[in-house]
Structures are given as structure tokens and as C-alpha cells.
């Protein structure tokens, strides 16, 4: 500071001001990718809790329909004497899905891990556009406020499903939540889209432009490949969702008629205009939301690949086929959206086309599973907490992948469409798959983020209980689906066909309640370890990739040296060196000799 002549008092004052400004610019409006990543991480974990509690509301109603909820029932639904109303039930599943998809899975993968890991793993000091990166986080806040506010608008939350199909979502008289609550929902989702778009542009530029010397594209860790292709998916698909969202806002607020047929009415209220087509929304929505399904799984696959290779102490099996498989999934992902619409009234001939492409997308998924198994074959498997979560990802993804083939088969889909079979399928992919991978990734990269270890014993207990209860909750849904048990019904027992399924639903709900409860172990372990975990050095897992060469936690600018990359990130057990890992930055032995 140049003002050395200033008085002590003034100097101290200036320092205090700098202190506050420093705190705000370091931890609040930070442009450092690591802080932004952690902001995303903690925000999304809080929303994860909200989404989980909403799910428990659904499970309560399905297990003990029209009974008073203990403790919180009277607080929330005093008007009904403590029971969930059918109106609120529609809000519960709408908001559960919306929160989990748009506020948890997408931002925790791309926002939290994408932000934290991309610059570190490619050997860059930060993202290409730090300010844009900061904005991508802060654009989540209007989204948080809109979705939170939706609960307090008339109808107590949007209730047209997370897919928001018109005319239910467009005609304000069609449902209690189709008024202001639905408008806020649309705005919230649009803000998430804007945030994701900013992130996507940033990730693409960073990965293409800012790799360390020697870091060729085919030396990138799978996590980065997955993030890269995810960013491409977002960049191409998101504009369509944003446009569709504005069209629906137009239909709702300005009397346009994109999604309303001639003479559309609901609850004796006629729409101002018609001439549109409700199926148009479904096409536009799924043109985004199907690729978004891969946005929600590809980064998890990338992180799982890294974890499995590290704890098998063995190179990843078929690196290039794995990259091609991700690219294949992403490419095919753009031409399969119609499989959500087999029963929608879309031309059945078109259904046949989508059926063939959908079948084919199972192929790259199978290739990935075989390669994960190949990676574990002949290794030295260390059963650490992150590894257990990664193995469970593979095991559960097999179930989620195989059940997808049932739905892809159009004739079978006639029966199981909109039943619990599909609910089982996407929970196996998104919860048993992605969410378990995210847990694994948190345990894996936590030492890098905070310079301390999370407790392994508690971590394994958390894994074991979550794994058991998630299967108790979701596996049984396949059986419900086989009976044709429809989703989104506040009281399925209204139908004779499904009345005898109540005990099974009660079993599932008990498992679900336990599954959410045991997350307390995770939360306690996470918070405790941030402050009191065992301190560790740079590379506690003896991993190869660049982020483990930086200090833990890395300072501003990440590396205290210039990383130069000599090889791929998976050279575990290489015969070239004595130790069982061979970091990307370590020069080959002959080059070392030259230096001597």
C-alpha cells in the first residue's frame, strides 16, 4: 500500500473496509471457480434436502392416504385437519421433480463439480470468463426465489407436473396451481436455463483454450470429457426450452395460442385464442429435456470412471471407446425425444422411428458398463467410500439401463407408460445412479476442496444404509409398474385393480423415510469434517490427475507451479515406474536423466 504516511487510525479503518470488501469479493461475489463451485455445491445440497422432504410427502400419501401427517401435518394443512389435499399432492410431485432436476442434479453436476474440477483437472488457473462464471451462480438466485415463491402463490405451488403439459399449465382455470404459481415456475426454470447456458459457454471455452502444455484432448480425464460433452448438449438444447418457456408465458399472459387448440376450455373458462397444438409443447419440452437426461448422467459417468480407475489401481479399460460412447449417447440423445410421447397422440409411424433410435442408445450405455467392469478386472480394488458409491453406480445403472429397454419397446410402453415402471426406471438412473455418484464424488474430492478427509467409517455406514433403503424404495416400483399402477394419483386405491398394493407401498414409504433420515449421517460427517477432519496433503488417494498436484485446498490461481502434462490420467500400475501410480506431470525417466 502506498499510503504509508497515513495515520494509524485511518490506516486501520481502511484495512477494516478492505476486510469486508475482501470477504465479499472472496466468498460472496467471488470470481474464483473453486468458491463458485462450492457455492453451487452447498446451495444444491440444501435444495436436495427440500426435494427429499417433498418426496416424503408423496410417500406419506401413497402409504397412508388421507390420514393426518404427524407433527408437520397440522402446521402445513391445518385447513384439512393435517392431511394432504389432492391439490397439494399435485404440487408435491411437481415440485419434487422440479427441485431435484433443475435445482439439484443439473447444478450440482455442472455447477458444483464442473466449476470446481474443470480448471484444476486441465491445469488452468481459472475459468476463461470468471465474471460470467460468477453470474452463472447468481442467476440461480432469481430462480430460487421464483420457485420458492411459487409455494406461496395461490394454489400453493405449480401443480401441472414438472413437464408442465398444456393445456393444464396454460389455462389458469384448469388447476389451482395454474395461476401465478405456474408463471413463477416458468420464470424459475428459465433462470436456471440462463445460468446453465452461461456455465456451458464458459466450460467449452475453458476446455478448448486453457489446457496446460501437453494436455491433449485424449489426455483429459473422463470427468472433463463428460463435462465437455454435457456443455455441448446444454448449448444446443437449452435455447429450445427457453423459447418454449417464453411461448408458454405468452399463452398464459399475453393471449397467444401456441399450445391451445381451437375452442380450448377448462372449468368452463374459454381461452382467448386457439389454433395451436398442445403436442407442440411436448415436442419442444422433450427436445430439451431428453438431452437434459444425459446432462444429468454423463458427468456422473465421467466422475465414476475416474473413481473406479483410481481405486482399482489400474488404467481405465478402453479410454477412447468410453469417450466415443459418451459422444454417441449425446449425439443419439438429440433424436430420441419422441420416446416420451409414444402414447401422446403423436403419429404412430413416427413412434416407430423413435423406437429404433431409442433402442440404439442402449448400445453406448452397454459399452460403458462393460468398460467399467473391464477396469475392475485384474486390478487391486480398494473399498473406500468413494469407490463403494462408484461401484453402486455401475450396479444400479445396469438396472436403470435395462428397464429402459422395456419402455423403448413401443408395444410394451402401451401398458407401462405413465405407471410406476417408469418411476422406477428414472429413479434408478437419477437417484441410484447420479445421486450416488455425486455422493462418491463428494467423498472423493472433499480432501481437495477442504484439505481434510471425511470420516471413512461414517462414510461407509452412510453408503450401506442409503444403498439398502434406496433399493427397498425403488426396486419394488418395478413390481407396481407391472400391475399398471399409475403415477401422479393422489389415491390410486380408488381403483379396484390397485387396491391390494397398499401394503407394498407402505413398505416402500418406510424405506423412503429411513433413506432420507440416514442422510443426517452424511450431513454431520460433511460439516464436522470441514472443520475437524484429518488434515491431508496434496494427494491422499495417490491419484494421477492434475488436481491432486495442486495444494489442498488450492489457493487463488490453483497451481504453485506450471503443470506440464506427459501422459494420460490413468497410468496406475504402470511397469515404467516403481510406485503404483504415475502422475500426469511426472517427467518420464529418460527425460529426467537428460535434466541431470
Amino acid at each position: 500500500m502506498s499510503s504509508t504516511t497515513a495515520g494509524v487510525q485511518t490506516h486501520g479503518h481502511a484495512h477494516a473496509e478492505a476486510g469486508v470488501g475482501h470477504f465479499v469479493s472472496t466468498y460472496v461475489f467471488s470470481r474464483d471457480h473453486k468458491i463458485i463451485g462450492l457455492q453451487f455445491l452447498f446451495s444444491t445440497l440444501l435444495w436436495f434436502l427440500v426435494g427429499g422432504l417433498l418426496a416424503l410427502g408423496i410417500r406419506w400419501q401413497l402409504a397412508w392416504p388421507w390420514t393426518n401427517m404427524p407433527v408437520i401435518g397440522p402446521m402445513l394443512f391445518s385447513g384439512e385437519g393435517g392431511q394432504i389435499s389432492p391439490e397439494f399432492y399435485t404440487t408435491l410431485f411437481t415440485m419434487h421433480a422440479t427441485v431435484m432436476i433443475f435445482f439439484v442434479i443439473i447444478p450440482i453436476l455442472a455447477g458444483a463439480f464442473g466449476n470446481y474440477l474443470i480448471p484444476l483437472m486441465i491445469g488452468a488457473d481459472d475459468m476463461a470468463f470468471p465474471t460470467l462464471n460468477m453470474l452463472s451462480y447468481w442467476f440461480m438466485w432469481p430462480a430460487f426465489i421464483c420457485i420458492g415463491g411459487s409455494f406461496f402463490a395461490p394454489g400453493n405451488g405449480a401443480g401441472a407436473g414438472w413437464t408442465s403439459y398444456p393445456p393444464l399449465s396454460v389455462l389458469t382455470e384448469a388447476a389451482p396451481g395454474s395461476g401465478m404459481a405456474q408463471t413463477l415456475w416458468l420464470l424459475g426454470v428459465t433462470f436456471v436455463g440462463v445460468s446453465s447456458m452461461m456455465g456451458s459457454v464458459n466450460y467449452l471455452t475453458t476446455i478448448i483454450q486453457m489446457r496446460a502444455p501437453g494436455m491433449t484432448m485424449f489426455r483429459l480425464p473422463m470427468t472433463i470429457w463428460a463435462m465437455f460433452i454435457t456443455a455441448v448438449l446444454q448449448a444446443f438444447a437449452l435455447p429450445v426450452l427457453t423459447a418454449a418457456g417464453f411461448m408458454q408465458l405468452g399463452d398464459r399472459l399475453f393471449g397467444t395460442g401456441f399450445f391451445l387448440a381451437d375452442g380450448a376450455t377448462a372449468n368452463n373458462m374459454a381461452a382467448a385464442t386457439g389454433g395451436g397444438q398442445p403436442l407442440l409443447w411436448q415436442h419442444l419440452f422433450w427436445f430439451y429435456s431428453h438431452p437434459a437426461v444425459y446432462v444429468m448422467i454423463l458427468p456422473a459417468m465421467g466422475m465414476v470412471s475416474d473413481i473406479i480407475s483410481c481405486f482399482s489401481r489400474k488404467p481405465i479399460f478402453g479410454y477412447r471407446p468410453m469417450v466415443y460412447a459418451i459422444a454417441g449417447i449425446a449425439g443419439l440423445g438429440f433424436i430420441v425425444w419422441g420416446h416420451h410421447m409414444f402414447m401422446s397422440g403423436m403419429n404412430p409411424y413416427l413412434g416407430m422411428t423413435f423406437m429404433v433410435t431409442t433402442m440404439l442408445i442402449a448400445l453406448p450405455s452397454a459399452v460403458k458398463v462393460f468398460n467399467w467392469l473391464g477396469t475392475m478386472w485384474g486390478g487391486k480394488i480398494q473399498f473406500t467410500t468413494p469407490m463403494l458409491f462408484a461401484i453402486s453406480f455401475v450396479s444400479m445403472f445396469i438396472i436403470g439401463g435395462l428397464s429402459g429397454i422395456f419402455m423403448a419397446a413401443t408395444p410394451v410402453d402401451i401398458f407401462i407408460h405413465d405407471t410406476y415402471f417408469i418411476v422406477a426406471h428414472f429413479h434408478y438412473v437419477l437417484f441410484a445412479g447420479t445421486a450416488m455418484a455425486v455422493f462418491g464424488a463428494i467423498y472423493f474430492w472433499f480432501p481437495k476442496m477442504f484439505g481434510r478427509m471425511m470420516n471413512e467409517t461414517w462414510g461407509k455406514l452412510h453408503f450401506f444404509l442409503t444403498f439398502v433403503f434406496l433399493n427397498g424404495t425403488f426396486y419394488t416400483m418395478h413390481i407396481l409398474g407391472a400391475v399398471g399402477f399409475p403415477r401422479r394419483l393422489a389415491d390410486p386405491y380408488h381403483y379396484e385393480t390397485f387396491r391390494h398394493l397398499l401394503p407394498m407401498n407402505q413398505f416402500m414409504s418406510v424405506c423412503a423415510i429411513l433413506m432420507v433420515s440416514v442422510q443426517v449421517i452424511f450431513a454431520a460427517n460433511l460439516i464436522y469434517s470441514i472443520f475437524y477432519g484429518k488434515p491431508v496433503g496434496r494427494n491422499p488417494w495417490h491419484a494421477n490427475s492434475l488436481e491432486w498436484m495442486a495444494p489442498s485446498p488450492p489457493g487463488h490461481g490453483n497451481f504453485d507451479f506450471q503443470p506440464i502434462v506427459y501422459r494420460g490420467p490413468y497410468e496406475y500400475g504402470s511397469p515404467e515406474v516403481d510406485s503404483d501410480y504415475y502422475p500426469q506431470i511426472e517427467p518420464p525417466p529418460d527425460e529426467k536423466k537428460d535434466e541431470d
Binding site: 393444464l168 380450448a264 459399452v367 468398460n371 478386472w377 485384474g378 413390481i479 407391472a482 399409475p486 500400475g573
Partner: protein, 277 residues
């Protein structure tokens, strides 16, 4: 602990298969926890495909699950004395495990097309028109037995009455009480009055979303007399869960008698009622 975790993952295929076998065999405690009784003619092709995919995926599920277990058991770092097999992959294996699933998936894709076409594309014909060739523009479609209209939160039905034409003054209007004759090909036209609904007959293996502004057709042949549920399978608002109808399959004579009865009831006014007034 490696042993414990290996066995935990072994439990996935073991319990996973068990949880399908028990309801399939209708054993305690999961009686009737399987595909509901199929009373339709075309339903067998759908159920057969379901079983075909179930067995196929079941084999893959068991094989991959056991492989995973074996690798975890065999290559546990604490027990495995062998050095790491340093390998970056195997081109031949990659080719094999790409081509084999691709062939199987393409086979399923082509195999199922007939069932799909039967259910959604081949709308029953009255006759093939003057040229006598099926699939040409002059084909005459079978007239619908009934028009079903989804509405928050009920199924409105309109039978064409004696003249067989919808939209004439002898149409019969009913709600939620759908009757069809047994062992006859039945065509229905379905539409919506307000929002999306889905016309789902679990026992007939029929499902079709109804879309406002679109008129669609469903067809089936019911083979068994009885009453069954009509379910709404697409979210249509707060009362979605109670949008329940009843499908009654009965003999042609009973059906004719029933519809005559309904017609009489609809046309009878209290002012023209029978003797005694």
C-alpha cells in the same frame, strides 16, 4: 471388509431376481402383484414381448451382476496377491461387445413392430373399398361403437343409437359406464373437452392420451365377460385420481338390451311416463 462389500453387491442380482420371481409365481406375499389379467385379443402380443424383454434383460442383469461380484471378490486389494494387469483395453473385446448388443437391440426393434402396428396403425376396416385393396385411400373404416370424451374429471360417453351415426338425435349420453360386446372388434373414437387425459384400460392393454383438438381411435376385441377399470393415466388436474370409469364386457344380447334400456331411460320424460299418472 472387501468380502462384505462383494457379497452386498452379489445381493443385487440375487434379491433382484427373487423380487421378480415371487410375484411372477404368484407366491406369498405378492399375490396379484403382476400383469393384471389380459382379456383382449391383441394383449398377448404385448405381454409376450414384455416377457421376452424381461428374460433377455434378466440374463444380462444376472451375468453383469455376477461378473461385478466376482471381480470385487477376486481382485480385492487386501486378498489379491497378483500384480495389477496393466492394460488399456482390448480392441477385439470392444468390437464384440458393441456388435452383439447392437444386433440384439436391432432385433428387438424390428421384432416388436408388428405388435405396435396392430395396436396403433391398423385401424379396423369395414371393407377395403371399391378397389378391393387394403391400405388404399378408399378403405372404409369401421364405425365407432362409442365416442369417449375425457373431461375434468369424468369420461363422457356417447353411443350412436339405432341409426349407427354419431351426432344424430338418437345418440345416447352416459358418464363413466362403458359397455362393450364380448368377442367383437370394437372401435372407439376418443377426444378431450379440456386438458390432456389418457384413456387407459389395464386389462385390455389399451392406452391412448386424449388431446384437445384431436380426434383419435382405439380398437380392441375383449374376450372375457366382466367389469374392469377405466383409468386416467395422464395428469389432468387435482381430481386426476378420481377420474375412474367402469368397463363392462358382456354378451351381444346383454349389450343390446342394456343400450335399449339406457335409450328408454334417456327418452322417458316424467310427463309422458307410463300408466298410473
Amino acid at each position: 471388509m472387501g468380502r462384505f462389500w462383494s457379497i452386498l453387491f452379489l445381493m443385487v442380482p440375487v434379491i433382484g431376481v427373487g423380487l421378480f420371481v415371487v410375484p411372477m409365481a404368484d407366491m406369498w406375499p405378492m399375490q396379484n402383484h403382476w400383469l393384471p389379467e389380459d382379456i383382449s385379443e391383441h394383449g398377448a402380443s404385448i405381454d409376450d414381448l414384455y416377457y421376452f424383454i424381461l428374460y433377455l434383460t434378466g440374463v444380462i442383469f444376472i451375468a453383469t451382476g455376477l461378473t461385478l461380484f466376482w471381480f470385487l471378490w477376486r481382485y480385492d486389494a487386501a486378498k489379491n496377491p497378483d500384480p495389477v494387469k496393466f492394460a488399456h483395453g482390448n480392441h477385439t473385446l470392444e468390437v464384440i461387445w458393441s456388435i452383439v448388443p447392437a444386433a440384439v437391440l436391432l432385433f428387438i426393434a424390428i421384432h416388436q413392430m408388428t405388435a405396435w402396428a396392430e395396436a396403433k396403425l391398423r385401424r379396423p376396416l369395414e371393407n377395403s373399398g371399391p378397389d378391393g385393396i387394403v391400405g388404399t385411400a378408399d378403405d372404409v373404416y369401421m364405425k365407432p361403437l362409442v365416442e369417449v370424451t375425457g373431461r375434468q374429471f369424468e369420461w363422457r360417453l356417447r353411443y350412436p343409437g339405432a341409426d349407427g351415426e354419431l351426432g344424430t338425435r338418437d345418440d345416447i349420453y352416459l358418464v363413466n359406464d362403458l359397455h362393450v360386446p364380448v368377442n367383437e372388434e370394437v372401435v372407439m373414437t376418443i377426444k378431450s373437452d379440456d386438458v390432456l387425459h389418457s384413456f387407459f384400460l389395464p386389462n385390455v392393454r389399451v392406452k391412448q392420451d386424449v388431446v384437445p383438438g384431436m380426434r383419435q381411435y382405439v380398437w380392441f376385441k375383449a374376450k372375457k365377460i366382466g367389469t374392469y377399470d377405466i383409468v386416467c393415466a395422464e395428469l389432468c388436474g387435482w381430481g386426476h385420481y378420481k377420474m375412474k370409469g367402469r368397463l363392462t364386457v358382456e354378451s351381444r344380447e346383454d349389450f343390446d338390451r342394456w343400450i335399449q334400456q339406457k335409450y328408454q331411460a334417456q327418452e322417458t320424460s316424467q310427463f309422458t311416463a307410463g300408466p298410473g299418472d
